[in-house]
């Protein structure tokens, strides 16, 4: 057992760190230090830069544009990325539709869509949830009727993150309403510029616009935008759930958040009971350690080609709970400084002044991607052999 990085890995880490130091732009660093969301232009500029390096589609096979890194290297990259104050990349292209395409897509589909993801040119969004199909995805209703040379799509998606930024959506639609719930679902790629699509913003309680409703009225989608066969949508969706993501636990970003919190406390104007605050931070750091080393085991298992067990649900649950705890600590340790919302100038500490934005937004992290309750149900079935 060797829990330290190897010499090669440390060298890799150094090279990534230097690169980050030189390439993460100041505006991004500033936003990150304050815990702010980036504008579309900032985010896309950053992703294109990574794309140019070949560092965007990290988990992909080399033949499709992946860097050929081990899971450990990907973890190191993510850590250095986060600690350098750079944002996580959007998962919809690189972690979701990409792997679907190279696993289930026809050659033409791969040729057409993968390069745009690898380079950061094409922005994707995920059309899964519907007003009455959130955690219970199998009951989705958005209908894709097969016509001669296209599908005619009608219906509505909701909670569509960054739909307003996106060029493309991958989407679960019902192609056959006559069969059992899961069976009639297909996986469709939709160009967001197609007539009949309306994107309406949903503002979140952090005051920002991340989410959308997307309405489809007689939207014509070419038949060749179907991935796999009709009715395979459920299989593909399940495949994605088990697809490896070294970042599911949010370890790197929690490191970054705890380091922001420490800075804020140490540089606080002084009325804080700092030794008291440090105890609370110590508890968070220790929880992060437990999460981090559990994550390492997943990473190591991936590098050794071992299959992932139920740990990954655990990582998601613990990881999101920790993100919430850290953000709550940031709000509470900020005291009154956290009361501010749109103050034009710093009052004591910028970090604390913005703390509730992230805290508010992160209430969603135990909900989306399958609520933690659903994750526990699934895990319980595995444990109990139900």
């Amino acid at each position: 057992m060797n829990l330290d990085f190897t010499r090669e890995e440390r060298e890799f880490q150094q090279s990534i760190r230097s690169w980050m130091r030189e390439n993460v732009q100041d505006d991004i660093k500033r936003s990150s230090a304050l815990g702010e969301m980036l504008a579309k232009e900032q985010q896309q500029k950053w992703e294109r830069l990574l794309g140019k390096q070949g560092w965007l589609a990290l988990t992909w096979p080399k033949q499709y544009g992946g860097p050929g890194w081990t899971a450990t290297q990907r973890y190191i990259f993510d850590l250095e990325r986060a600690m350098a104050g750079a944002p996580p990349t959007s998962p919809f292209g690189v972690s979701m539709v990409g792997p679907v395409l190279y696993n289930f897509g026809f050659q033409e589909q791969k040729d057409r869509w993968l390069p745009g993801i690898v380079s950061g040119e094409t922005l994707w969004c995920q059309g899964y949830s519907e007003p009455n199909a959130g955690s219970d995805l199998a009951s989705l209703k958005t209908r894709a009727e097969r016509k001669d040379d296209h599908y005619l799509v009608n219906g509505q998606k909701i909670w569509t993150t960054q739909a307003h930024w996106s060029d493309m959506m991958f989407c679960l639609v019902r192609t056959d309403p006559t069969v059992k719930q899961q069976n009639g679902i297909s996986f469709l790629l939709i160009d967001m510029k197609t007539p009949g699509i309306e994107v309406r913003p949903i503002y979140s309680i952090d005051g920002h616009h991340h989410l959308n409703e997307v309405y489809f009225t007689d939207v014509r989608v070419p038949l060749e935008n179907l991935v796999g066969q009709e009715g395979m949508g459920w299989t593909i969706a399940k495949f994605l759930l088990t697809h490896e993501r070294t970042t599911i636990a949010g370890v790197a970003d929690s490191h970054h958040e705890i380091s922001r919190l420490k800075n804020a406390v140490e540089e606080s104007p002084g009325f804080l009971d700092k030794s008291q605050a440090r105890l609370r931070i110590a508890e968070l750091e220790i929880e992060l350690m437990a999460l981090e080393y559990t994550n390492f085991r997943t990473v190591a298992a991936t590098d050794e080609g071992r299959p992932l067990g139920p740990e990954s649900s655990g990582l998601k649950i613990k990881g999101t709970e920790l993100q919430q705890k850290v953000s709550q600590a940031m709000v509470e340790l900020g005291g009154m400084m956290s009361l501010t919302w749109d103050n034009p100038e710093t009052i004591g500490s910028d970090i604390f002044n913005r703390a509730t934005r992230r805290y508010n937004f992160l209430r969603a992290c135990t909900i989306y991607g399958g609520s933690n309750e659903i994750q526990k149900n699934v895990l319980a079935k595995m444990l109990l052999g139900l």
């Binding site: 009951s139 309680i205 009325f271 008291q276 009154m336 009361l339 501010t340 004591g348 609520s371």
Partner: protein, 370 residues
Amino acid sequence: MEFNLPENTTLIADTASRYLKDNYSFDIYRKQIEQQDPFGASRWSAMQELGWFGLPFAESGGGFGGTLLDVAMVVRELGAALCLDPYVDTVVAPGKLLEYVGSDATLAMLSDVIEGRVKLACALYDFHAGYQVLTPSMKLNGRRLSGQKNFVPDGGFADTLLATALADGELVVLAVPLGICETIRYRALDGGRIANVLFDDVDITDGMILACGEKAEQALSRLLAYLRVLDCARMYGAAGALYRRTLEYAKTRKQFGVAIGSFQIIQHYLVDMFIDLQQLESMLFMAAVKAESEDVSQRERASTAAKAYYADKAVRIAQQAIQIHGGIGVTEELDIGHYFRLITHCSLTHGDRAHHIKSFSRLDEVHQGE
């Protein structure tokens, strides 16, 4: 022992509830948080007509002699309605400070408050001193006032501040016209209006000094106990609203073909919310009755305990309300997330949980019932 709301208090609460139902709504709230101007003249005069301006104050000073419990029930309803009208910050808080100081000058000002002739706000905090209200960082040197006040909840329209400062290490309470200060207004977490005020070597005249030394400290101590309870009252209103909405949602929202309230885990979440809400209500009643006590240790014990408890349990109820609502709970569209912000906000005003636990741990224990 008798635990019922007095008839009169129930009447006040019911009237407040009816008034808010007729005159306030989530739509009005949403417009209000976007506006610089906090609210029209109509709701200001409505408050006065309802008798709220006089409610918190002794009859001898021209008030209606309401108890803290009466005021708390009004504030509870304001919280339940998500209403941002700054009743506490611009009427109750400055008015009680004037009353607690109790000089001829302050009682005269108080009657202006009751008549709605002035718009005051308390400026007790700055980010250096934090919750240590007895040692503000602002300094009064001779007749020159220098420093800043932050987190001043002036509702966006106060014209005079009741501000604290230290003069030779002694606490003073001053009434300073906002016109002579540099003021930056912005929005607070709960959507209300809040200000930073910079005092750049401001000239202070005799009449501006309302109280100093022990008198000022005592008035402030009493005020804070009072305000902590109103924080709790507002949170209770919001937490109750969240519980009712969440219970209703669990009964009607379907997933996997059944109401989500049929899942045992959701049931237990709701039960936990219900039980905590019960205890929050008990704490509110307890604190409202005891925080007006002449006995400082009773006041402190009751109000710090209540606030510490609320900053834990009301916050937890708000978090669970969102979790049970799912995605819809984190949107601006629905009131759930706004109640959530309100509760977070109130958990941080006039002392947060850590502050109150620490204060409480330093009080001497008073054997219950003695």
